[in-house]
């Protein structure tokens, strides 16, 4: 094997022999690489390309502007306006020592506080924008914009922000918005929502969420490994939500809200509620609950302190007293008792009952509010002067269950079905109810209390308005209608519920007419208790009511000023007009307002006054328009 030639020794020939094997080894290794490349780049390429896209493409949702909420004339109650914000990207700030003080000055902020807010982000956090202001005034925005050239790393942005034009106006009807909660996310209603989405959390905002929310858009952005946006692939614009037109009348709503303001500057706003309904359609023309809140404070996310204040306030500003405040109806109940008595035949308009100022039942004395008594009273006088003894007698003769039958007939003790959350049904007591509730038999004295709307009876302002609306319109109970029409984002009608009849009261038209005429006397006759509700030029009918908060023994013999505020009676007034052909009914309650006539009467008066003032103005231009039309015709 070993040749003689030194250079071509055995070693070399061995090397020659081994070289093909080395080459084979090398090629084998590369064959494995080719196979692996084939696997990754041909077989798995779709999957891996998708993962590459997922790496670099982020979809940024673009919030849709919520649709408008309008009053019945199309005036805006809630809308969405642009809110200008300022963001800072730490990585792009070239000279922090000059940028921050300038920015602080422009934003009216303390530079140190600003510096603290920004901190010293590291790594990929340096590329994440930090929001320094969320809702700049236009002035501040222009100031920042005009200095942007000197503010490296500072960018302005614009986002939609809910805006309630009237502030606290109709806040309980409109409701408010807030971030969707964990429990809401797990319910099927919010199946297509994601964490951080903002939804209606009360009132119309909540009920009409679907119509108002709109369609969120999105922007597909290319980001690098640090999360910095380096490009935009495409963008789908959001679609503004549809609009919801309410039956509310902004003018009447404003009048009702204003009516709760104190007469004397510095006194607290009255607490209570008021509802105005169209007696023929059930349209809710105004709905007020006081104290109220400013839904704008929820718009950008409510701060914990304000929220705590709202939820722990002893007067519960979030509660909608008009539909969920349950009060004894007091003397406003008498109109229903009168109608029940007439319908059941226990009284007729001519029957007179003597009022000595009290009545005795089972050895107990029940007083009339008028110490000396009203003397001989018929139905008309009993209602006009609100004689308790007359109605004690009617109630006694009807009995509590008959009374309850008629009360239920006026939809008391039942939901009206208004499309707002948290409506309460009130309470109409019966023998069976008391047995069930207290395991005690009904006692006759309780019938006496019930017949003047005290005792166990509870109604909401809305229920009383519906019941009086039936008295006013001749016996038809209308379901309160809040929604006039719902349109989608292109303005197409989506929903427009027609007026809805709840039922007919079990009282004849003639008997209701008798009650109506007595109620007109309450406001307009010499001894009537409702004089404070008079509107010049309009025939107003109505009834006062005073609901006791505590037993008489706490307040007996004291002047109103001397009674602790929370022990004072609730004041009621329910009125409608015009008395001969009613169009509108207004119910108002003022908590701890004292006597119904003086505290609640003026509220109803102001709403009615505004209604008829507006109607007068509206009629004039339409007559003008008619004349013009005729002139036009003549010209041709």
């Amino acid at each position: 094997m070993i040749g003689p030639d030194q250079r071509l020794g055995g070693g070399e020939s061995l090397i020659h022999g081994r070289i093909p094997w080395i080459a084979a080894f090398i090629l084998l290794v590369f064959a494995v690489f080719f196979a692996r490349l084939f696997q990754l780049q041909v077989i798995q390429t779709d999957d891996l390309r998708l993962r590459s896209v997922r790496n670099s493409v982020r979809t940024l949702p673009i919030e849709a502007p919520r649709g408008d909420i309008l009053d019945r004339d199309g005036r805006i109650l809630a809308t969405t306006r642009p809110a200008f914000g300022v963001q800072l990207i730490p990585n792009d700030v070239r000279h922090p020592e000059t940028v921050l003080p300038v920015l602080a000055q422009l934003l009216d902020r303390d530079p140190d506080q600003l510096r603290e807010e920004i901190g010293t982000p590291h790594g990929r956090l340096r590329f994440q924008p930090i929001r320094l202001a969320g809702d700049l005034s236009f002035d501040s925005l222009t100031r920042v914009e005009s200095h942007l050239y000197a503010l490296s790393g500072v960018v302005t942005d614009v986002r939609p922000r809910r805006h309630y034009v009237g502030g606290e106006l109709a806040s309980h009807v409109l409701g408010f918005i807030g971030e969707v909660s964990g429990s809401q996310l797990s319910s099927s209603r919010y199946a297509d929502y994601r964490q951080g989405d903002v939804i209606g959390q009360a009132g119309v905002e909540q009920l009409e969420e679907e119509a108002l929310r709109g369609l969120a858009g999105g922007r597909n952005q290319i980001v690098d490994v640090a999360g910095r946006v380096v490009g935009v692939i495409d963008e789908i614009a959001p679609v503004r939500g549809g609009s919801v037109q309410l039956t509310l009348d902004l003018d009447l709503q404003q009048a009702a809200e204003d009516a709760f303001l104190p007469d004397v500057l510095g006194e607290r706003t009255r607490i209570g509620a008021a509802v105005a309904l169209d007696v023929h359609t059930g349209d809710v023309l105004a709905l007020v609950s006081k104290p109220s809140f400013d839904p704008n404070s929820f718009a950008g996310g409510i701060d914990a302190e304000t929220w705590k204040q709202l939820t722990t306030d002893r007067w519960k500003p979030i509660q909608n007293r008009a539909i969920s405040g349950q009060y004894p109806p007091g003397s406003t109940y008498k109109a229903l008792v009168a109608a029940a008595g007439l319908a059941d035949g226990v009284i007729d308009p001519e029957r007179r009952i003597f009022c000595p100022g009290y009545t005795r039942v089972n050895g107990r004395t029940y007083r009339c509010w008028k110490r000396g008594g009203h003397g001989s009273v018929d139905l008309h006088k009993a209602l006009v002067e609100s004689c308790d003894v007359y109605f004690y007698e009617v109630g006694k003769e009807l009995g509590v269950d008959r009374l309850a039958f008629f009360a239920n007939g006026f939809n008391l003790g039942r939901l009206t079905g208004i499309r707002l959350p948290q409506e309460m049904p009130g309470l109409v007591p019966t023998r069976a109810w008391k047995e069930r509730r207290f395991h005690e038999p009904w006692v006759p004295g309780e019938t006496i209390s019930a017949s003047i709307g005290q005792g166990f009876n509870l109604t909401t302002p809305l229920q009383l308005a519906v019941a009086y609306g039936a008295i006013a319109n001749g016996g038809t109970l209308m379901r309160p209608r809040l929604l006039l029409r719902v349109a989608d984002s292109e303005g197409r009608l989506v929903d427009g519920p027609p007026p809805e009849v709840l039922g007919t009261v079990p009282v004849s038209r003639e008997h209701l007419a008798l009650v109506r005429s007595a109620l007109e006397g309450v406001v307009n006759e010499l001894h009537g208790t409702g004089a404070r509700a008079r509107v010049p030029g309009v025939r107003v009918a109505g009834k006062t009511g005073t609901a006791q908060v505590v037993g008489l023994k706490h307040t007996e013999g004291l002047d109103e000023d001397e009674i602790a505020f929370e022990h004072r009676d609730h004041a009621w007034f329910v009125g409608f007009a015009p008395a001969n052909a009613p169009e509108i009914v207004v119910a108002a309650v003022v908590e701890h307002g004292g006597h119904g006539g003086s505290a609640a009467g003026p509220i109803v008066q102001k709403v009615l006054a505004r209604y008829f003032e507006k109607r007068a103005v509206q009629q004039v231009p339409s007559q003008v328009a008619m004349r013009d039309f005729e002139v036009d015709l003549a010209a041709h």
């Binding site: 070399e12 090397i15 070289i19 290794v29 590369f30 692996r36 780049q41 891996l48 290319i222 980001v223």
Partner: protein, 365 residues
Amino acid sequence: MLRIDRRSIQNFDWTLLALITALLAAGLVNLYSATGSNDGFSGEMRRQLMSLALGGALAFFFAVVDYRHFERFALPAFCVALSLIAITLIVAPLTRGSQSWLFGGRVQPAELAKVALVLTLARYFQRHPPGETTRLRDLLWPGAIVALPVGLIVAQRDMGVALLTLLIGATYLFLVRIPFRAWLGVAVLAVAALAALWTFALAPYQKERILAVVDPGRDPLASGYQVTQSRIAIGSGGLLGTGYRDGTQNQLRFLPTRHTDFAFSVLAEEWGFVGSCVTLGLYATLLVWGLVVARSSKDEFGALLAIGVVGCLFWPAVLNVAMVLGLAPVIGVPLPMFSYGGSALVVTMALLGLLMNVSMRRYVF
């Protein structure tokens, strides 16, 4: 000494030159994308071009001087290389977990040691023909020649280069005539050594890297993250690639160390299956051509040198591509001619010059 024989010009190996040029060009074009700044050449790109110039000069020197002269300088060069590594160990600061840079991080002595190692081993096997190396104990000396630099590099905690140096030395084992059962014994010993290494020597992060090959989802933010991002880059290249400088994994920097260890992922993403195969094909051709040069060499020293050069190119390429493809653990081994790195490029070009030298002189004597 610098007298160039006319025949060596007539026999100039144009194929080898073309292969080298093609690979160097591809490497630079790819590096330009991987270091991708939008305005002109990045600092890395400029430094790489400077290294290329220096490497070119060195390659010329190693090609022109008759390789038989180098035999005399093998031992001195070996000693200088060892001393440099030892000096590094004493004076160099610890950077990125290892201590392997001299002159302010410009020169990596362990890279220079490759040339010296190839020369020294070629010289040894020329004097002790591999055909006569039939017993394990015959490997004592060559073993020591390899173990010295490897030991020093391990002390530098540069495991990747240590492994490479070991493998380059092991290339010559392909040539010896040691019976199969002896290898069996070696294999048993090797497994035991590896087990010991795993238990006692490897740091937890190194173990993680090895485990991440088996299961890339294991540690998605450390070494598994690199492997995963590399697989995504390669896979999303598809058949024809995303286009030059259009790979999102590269350009948006999802791919880690894309201009050094994962340079091939950039190529695979932007040039696809076709580009990757062409590149690897060129690589394989160069290696096989190196073996052809070895086979046609007129003397044993030349053949041994050529095989050593092939080993110096093959092992880092295998380790790097296997790592990039997710077939081997993440060890910081650069891909010759593609990864950014001055010392590696200069040394690679010197070795290629040596290969050219052997090729040119195949008919000289």
